[in-house]
């Protein structure tokens, strides 16, 4: 067996492309394991966990590319190299006779199609320059990237406000404009409910619940997870709120945010109260998305439904704590909020004891890797580990569907779910998706259910169910 780690200094590729390259390499005959990744600390530790000898890998940083291969032969290594080059070769340039090189910046690329929205997912430390250029060129900007310094966020949003341009983000996962989803977004039916959300998965869960209740969505403007911080002061949220209030197609506005800073929450409430359009406010920490969706339905004069569920056939599970493996930060918050009264203390870090709800979309677990809604590697590993951890009785995890997300997350999870359930652990899935999502919401639910999981469309219901399983089992 050959085990090798190669360093390609200064060769940059984005994490999704590298994930695809890793998958391509893993498919090469004779290659038993492979990882192509930028040399972040997370990826270095992942390589060590995979059994690679890291002593020779010194002096590398996040701008260096690592190729790590376990292979049966040199031929397989050579084949892996070919597969790598193929996977990393830029796509063929547009034909047009003159073979123009690809534009390399937002400014030059936008000249080609006259873009009015720039969508940035470059590493956070590089987002500011591209975002500022987009604003200077008169574009609205969605910054998917996280790890952008707050001072830069403030500069960008101030500039946007002064120039009538919306800055969505940084750390903005989801926006839907007139049905077109940017980032992680669900396929929604046309409707007259619009959202402003300082939370990507908050918007997605709201879309999913309203969709299940038969309510369509007009716009959902993401503003980034820091927008309601004291420093940013809800700059983009208020800007978007004002625009939606003036939008004739919007009959109801929902504001969603991760737990906001108190004075900022007050300010948003005051402005919302003055809107001509009815506004439902859903601040995490105060209420749940399910309750928010309920208020929307109330305002529209529609009944609150029982949201879809696919429950596992009754089976015994072993006693133990709940391990929450989340990809959506807001889904984690909401789950914690509703489960805490039942479970008591719930840790948010892997090293905590007892019940833990971890957000694997957090920076700590995404450096040099794609978001867990795309790349499930880390969560799959933690799910498998939970099966072997005797202290765990219940696993609670979200699966987020929609554009931008993993094309078939259930297929990757199902075999592991089956193994974990077989080991005596109850698996509860919060499935966030709409009926129109490209992955097929119900098919995904059934696949996970057949593997032994209980699947719920409402994240709050899923969390309560997980907590109930853990408490009833341990108390019986």
């Amino acid at each position: 067996m050959i085990s090798r780690v190669e360093i390609h200094p200064g060769r940059y590729h984005d994490s999704v492309r590298l994930m695809q390259a890793s998958k391509a390499l893993q498919g090469v005959e004779g290659v038993t394991d492979a990882l192509v990744a930028m040399a972040t600390e997370l990826n270095l530790s992942l390589l060590a966990d995979m059994g690679f000898d890291m002593d020779t890998v010194t002096g590398v940083g996040p701008n260096d590319l690592l190729l790590a291969i376990h292979a049966e032969s040199e031929e397989a290594v050579a084949a892996a190299h070919r597969a790598l080059e193929e996977a990393l070769t830029p796509r063929v340039a547009r034909s047009g006779g003159l073979d123009a090189p690809d534009a390399k910046t937002i400014g030059t690329a936008a000249k080609i199609n006259g873009a009015d929205v720039a969508l940035l997912s470059v590493p956070g430390e590089h987002a500011f320059v591209e975002a500022m250029e987009a604003l200077q060129d008169g574009m609205h900007v969605m910054i998917f990237s996280d790890n952008v310094p707050i001072s830069q966020e403030i500069t960008l949003k101030k500039y946007g406000l002064e120039h009538g341009l919306l800055v969505m983000g940084p750390d903005c996962g989801t926006t839907i404009v007139g049905g077109l989803g940017l980032g992680f977004a669900n396929a929604v039916q046309p409707g007259s409910v619009s959202m402003v959300g300082a939370s990507g998965t908050g918007i997605q869960e709201m879309c999913a619940l309203l969709d299940d209740a038969g309510v369509g969505v007009r716009h959902a403007l993401g503003t980034g997870s820091h927008d309601l911080s004291e420093e940013v002061g809800a700059s983009s949220t208020l800007q978007a709120l004002e625009a939606l209030d003036a939008d004739p197609g919007t009959e109801l506005i929902v504001i969603i945010s991760k737990p906001p800073a108190a004075p900022v929450a007050e300010k948003v409430r005051r402005v919302a109260a003055e809107c001509a359009t009815p506004v439902v406010i859903t601040f995490m920490g105060e209420t749940t998305l399910e309750e928010g969706a309920g208020e929307v339905l109330d305002a529209l004069g529609l009944p609150r439904p029982l949201y879809g569920s696919w429950e596992a056939a009754d089976r015994d599970h072993r006693p133990g704590s709940v391990r929450g493996l989340f990809s959506g930060g807001t889904l984690r918050s909401e789950a914690r909020h509703v489960a805490a009264p039942l479970l008591g203390e719930i840790g948010t870090r892997e090293e905590d004891n007892g019940h833990t709800f971890i957000d694997y979309g957090d920076d700590e677990y995404t450096q040099g890797r794609a978001h867990p809604m795309i790349d499930q590697t880390v969560r799959v590993e933690r799910l498998a580990a939970a099966g072997q951890d005797e202290s765990v009785g219940v696993v609670l995890m979200d699966v987020v569907l929609g554009y931008g997300a993993n094309a078939n997350p259930a297929a990757e999870l199902a075999p592991i779910v089956e193994r974990v359930v077989g080991a005596g652990v109850a698996v509860v899935v919060s499935l966030c998706g709409t009926r129109g999502d490209p992955q097929g919401r119900d098919a995904q639910a059934r696949m996970l259910n057949e593997a032994g999981a209980s699947v719920y469309l409402s994240n709050a219901v899923a969390a309560i169910e997980a907590a109930r399983l853990a408490t009833t089992r341990t108390s019986s």
Partner: protein
């Protein structure tokens, strides 16, 4: 008030930078997306870029600077003598190409040209004598660029040489260049044999005065118009000047025939000299460029590259927003084709002020206009087009006058933005001649070279420092 109305009422047209999946997921929903093939900026430049993009100062300054560069209408008005036009020029002053340089660090062709110019000025008895005197500081070296002038290759300009005077038709500024000697064993390539020195004497005795009289007779020549026409006739303005030189001859032919206060044999010799030198107009194109780049200089906060120049030892650039400061890196070797039995072993590193042409949207940046020379510089016609197209990434404007037929008469990429260079690591493409590294050799080839990134990194860091 709803500034965001358009965003809410129309389907967004999206451009992406970063993970391809986000672009693909939009395309799954229908609309096409334009992707930037984004890469991180040159290592270590983020802090400076963050400063430069923190507000509109650089952007506004660049608009002013490129506007000034493009507003210039260069015209050839006269041919004068160097000592009469350069303030502070003494009998011992020798101007040279590129950033400041001392004899100790001078390359072979630069030393050769200085030796030749000293022989020409009668300051030395023979080459060894000249070298000895130059080494002990008998002469004073100063960059052409410090005097509103440019010179190709070694660019050595000594007091007795005739210089072309190019002014702005709108009345702003003046720039100078020597007159082109032709190819082969010529001073600017470092040759200092009798052939080169005799030619220099003829140039100050006959060529300069005749041209001066011609210009007086017929009036100024609109150089920008000639260059614009020549780009549509296969010139790039740097390595191919056959068309523009022909156009120039047409411009002066009438006055040459009329007399120009000179005997017929001299007029005939002037005609033959220009006719036999496809690069005669290079120096005038360069002076035109210098006029534009000087007009654009000195705009605070601007990242516009106003000068790229090499002296055979160093490659230096200047930015509009950083005043007279040079940003310097070692002159790179040229990737070229070589004449006769010469090889890259015989080549001097990159040399000359002729990169002023690239600075104003000609030369390597206009390569798509000159398919006739792509073979000469080792490429294909498609490659030449690609080369020009790549330059739009790092330039501020498309030239309103200089157009490229093959690109549907799109303006040449003009106004190199140092910030875009470090962001993209796309380097300015330069067409150039290659001088022999041994003094006295002359021209050995021609080829392509890229401006070193280090110059732009230094420039961007210095520019950011002025804004903090």
């Amino acid at each position: 008030m709803s500034d965001l109305k358009q965003l809410l009422d129309t389907e967004p047209v999206v451009v992406t930078a970063g993970t391809d999946m986000l672009a693909t997921s939009i395309e799954e929903q229908g609309p096409a997306v334009e992707r930037a093939d984004w890469r991180p900026p040159h290592e270590g430049t983020e802090p400076a870029l963050n400063v430069l993009f923190s507000d509109d100062r650089m952007r506004d300054a660049n608009e002013i600077a490129i506007g000034r560069m493009l507003a210039v209408r260069p015209q050839l008005v006269d041919v004068k003598v160097a000592r009469d036009v350069f303030g502070g020029m003494t009998d011992r002053t020798f101007l040279h190409a590129g950033p400041p340089l001392e004899w100790e660090r001078a390359s072979g062709p630069m030393r050769g040209a200085i030796i030749g110019a000293m022989l020409y000025e009668g300051l030395a008895d023979d080459p060894d004598d000249a070298a000895t005197k130059a080494a002990r500081g008998d002469i004073e070296l100063s960059p052409c660029h410090h005097h509103g002038a440019v010179g190709p290759m070694a660019g050595v300009t000594s007091p007795s040489m005739p210089v072309a005077m190019v002014t702005d038709a709108a009345g702003n500024g003046v720039a100078y260049s020597t007159l082109n000697e032709g190819l082969g064993k010529v001073l600017r390539y470092g040759a200092y044999g009798p052939e080169a020195i005799d030619r220099l004497h003829w140039m100050d005795e006959v060529l300069g005065p005749v041209l001066s009289a011609v210009l007086e007779n017929r009036g100024p020549i609109d150089l920008q118009s000639l260059i614009a026409q020549a780009l549509q006739m296969g010139d790039d303005g740097h390595n191919r000047n056959r068309a523009v030189t022909s156009l120039f001859l047409r411009e002066i032919a009438g006055s040459l025939i009329d007399g120009a206060d000179a005997p017929l044999d001299q007029r005939r010799a002037v005609f033959d000299f220009i006719d036999g030198n496809d690069h005669f107009m290079l120096n005038l194109v360069m002076a035109s460029g210098k006029l534009g780049s000087d007009a654009a200089a000195g705009v605070p906060a601007s990242s516009l590259v106003t000068v790229m120049a090499r002296n055979g030892t160093d490659f230096g650039i200047r930015l509009s927003g950083t005043g007279d400061e040079w940003f310097i890196a070692p002159a790179p070797p040229v990737d070229g084709l070589y004449l006769g039995s010469f090889t890259e072993e015989d080549a001097s590193p990159d040399i000359g002020d002729s990169t002023i042409t690239e600075t104003v949207g000609l030369g390597g940046l206009a390569m798509a206009a000159a398919p006739a020379i792509v073979g000469f510089v080792g490429g294909t016609a498609a490659g030449a087009v690609r080369r020009t197209l790549a330059m739009y990434e790092i330039t501020m404007a498309e030239h309103p006058m200089y157009q490229i037929p093959m690109l549907e008469f799109r303006g040449t990429p003009v106004g190199i933005d140092a910030a875009r260079v470090v962001r993209t690591e796309v380097l300015p493409q330069i067409n150039t001649g290659v001088a022999g590294k041994v003094p006295g050799t002359g021209m050995v080839g021609a080829g392509l070279v890229e401006a070193p990134i280090e110059c732009f990194v230094q420039g961007i860091n210095a520019l950011a420092a002025t804004l903090q």
